[in-house]
């Protein structure tokens, strides 16, 4: 059953060297938990971005927590390129597993359905097939002969995201952001931070239940108010664009990044 724990205890459930799946910025990124992970010195992570990431990935990369990066893109959006990602690529300090968005979804779906691989449309002709030898091109075993790409299942050790609310049983409201459910289905363990715990049962009505990830898939929940900050949380608060721009500017240099990180960790501790 789902345990409700403190933020630090939640972060401590991520072990060094594990694969960690995180969602795209708009879907609910657990930034407070990310700070706690950096604080705890958890490193050598295999970060799986579902299907892309921004500030969270750049922060983890800059903090030296990422060994392998599986993503379809890393970008700070309006604030421009992700500086620590760029620096890590130039330094060769992170192993890249470049992907394309639907291939990451397909890999998670394979894990959701308990099959070793998933076929996927398109991709043929892309150099991604050269740099991802784990992706194969096969002849379709059904219908007329036709080349199809297949990607292996992605089974993250941990899925981590932030959502508006959970109930006491551990059911989490995810709205239309069903990739959060896919991540949880696929992952061995799912950790969720929320703005608040509510007393009502989120599965109570057919209408409320439709947007809920059942507690069956949720191992631990921690409350983290404004836990996605400076990123947006749908239905709750917009992104703090000024803060993200400040990050983008400071993180251009290693020293600037260190200064930002230190302030960010301190800020998070004050909020908590």
């Amino acid at each position: 059953m789902t345990e409700i724990v403190a933020l630090e205890a939640l972060a401590a459930r991520v072990a060094p060297g594990q694969s960690l799946a995180v969602p795209v910025d708009r879907s609910g990124v657990a930034m407070a938990a990310t700070a706690a992970i950096v604080e705890a010195g958890i490193d050598n992570l295999h970060l799986i971005c579902v299907p892309i990431s921004g500030l969270q990935a750049d922060l983890l990369i800059g903090a030296g927590a990422v060994k392998t990066l599986e993503t379809s893109a890393i970008s700070l959006g309006e604030a421009g390129g992700a500086p620590r990602f760029g620096a890590a690529v130039r330094a060769g300090s992170v192993t890249l597993r470049d992907a394309t968005c639907p291939a990451i979804h397909a890999g998670l779906l394979a894990a959701q359905h308990g099959v070793p691989f998933m076929p996927i449309a398109g991709i043929i002709g892309s150099d991604l097939l050269e740099v991802r030898p784990d992706w194969k091109v096969i002849d379709s075993p059904v219908d007329e002969a036709r080349k199809v790409v297949v990607v292996p299942a992605i089974t993250p050790d941990v899925a981590l995201f932030h959502a508006p609310e959970a109930d006491r049983a551990g059911n989490v409201r995810i709205g239309r952001f069903r990739e959060l459910a896919t991540m949880a289905y696929a992952a061995r363990k799912t950790l969720v931070t929320v703005e608040r715990i509510v007393d009502r049962n989120l599965l109570e009505t057919e209408e409320s239940a439709a947007g809920v990830l059942p507690s069956l898939y949720v191992d631990a929940i921690a409350v983290a108010e404004r836990g996605a900050w400076p990123l947006a949380l749908w239905d709750e608060y917009p992104a703090d664009e000024a803060e993200i721009a400040r990050y983008a500017s400071m993180a251009r240099s290693e020293d600037g990044f260190r200064a930002y990180l230190s302030t960010f960790l301190t800020h998070r501790k004050q909020v908590a």
């Binding site: 579902v50 892309i52 002709g125 069903r178 459910a181």
Partner: protein, 247 residues
């Protein structure tokens, strides 16, 4: 071209024309000009009693009718329910291949861009992929991309998708899928075909007489500066404000 906002109005109106006839266009995040083009087409069709146009904007809550998470756009494209999409590229080559990864040797590329996003997939599945890249320079338009994020032509597999046109700050190209390359369709004033030749690193077909990209007519401009920028403001407030102020 007398000003930045006039240039943008031409781009928006050109996009609306390129989209003519589609039922559903999907627009990536941070793409105000493509979004405005799509909204202009929608407004024009409504005005003219033509079939309605659906617009989905990635990352927008207001222009999002998807309810199945991040995979839905991709599934939708695979089902043939997305008629048009926009892609850019750090590099685009004369065969229509695009590079969103970086220059030099992978993985330690000299310049690293964000990554391929959904391009490798959508390029196969969306019939009208409009390549939209404002910067028109030999740095962007290269003979051969360093990394093929998405390939334009793959005779080894059937596909319905691929490049349809390339729109830049200077010109509009058609993509000829049989020939496997671009053909200059029109040049935005005040540029000349020679400007285009000078700033394009790949070979392309050029007609004997190159037309000028038409400026939007008065009715289109009225629609654009009124209803369209108002609608756009929901998703791109800063852009819409700038455009309205300049108009």
């Amino acid at each position: 071209m007398s000003s930045d906002h006039e240039r943008r109005e031409i781009l928006i109106a050109t996009i609306a024309d390129l989209l003519d006839g589609i039922r559903h266009v999907s627009v990536g995040a941070s793409s105000p000009i493509p979004a405005a083009g799509a909204m202009l087409l929608r407004a024009r069709n409504e005005r003219d009693g033509k079939p309605p146009v659906r617009i989905s904007i990635l990352g927008s809550q207001a222009h999002n009718f998807f309810t199945n998470g991040g995979i839905e756009l991709f599934d939708c494209a695979a089902q043939g329910r997305v008629d048009a999409f926009f892609l850019g590229g750090g590099q685009i080559d004369g065969e229509g291949n695009i590079n969103l990864v970086g220059t030099g040797d992978y993985p330690r590329t000299d310049v690293r861009w964000p990554g391929s996003f959904g391009s490798a997939y959508l390029y196969h599945l969306v019939p009208r992929v409009i390549l939209f890249r404002e910067e028109h320079s030999p740095r962007v338009f290269v003979p051969k991309v360093d990394f093929v994020s998405a390939r334009a032509i793959t005779p080894e597999v059937p596909r319905r998708g691929g490049p349809y046109a390339l729109l830049t700050n200077m010109a509009l190209f058609d993509f000829d899928r049989d020939a496997g390359g671009f053909a200059l369709r029109s040049v935005h004033p005040p540029f000349t075909p020679a400007d285009i030749r000078e700033n394009t690193g790949f070979a392309y077909a050029e007609p004997d007489v190159v037309r000028e990209t038409p400026r939007p007519d008065a009715a289109t401009l009225a629609l654009l500066r009124g209803r369209v920028f108002d609608e756009l403001a929901e998703t791109y407030p800063a852009f819409a404000r700038t455009m309205k102020r300049a108009a």
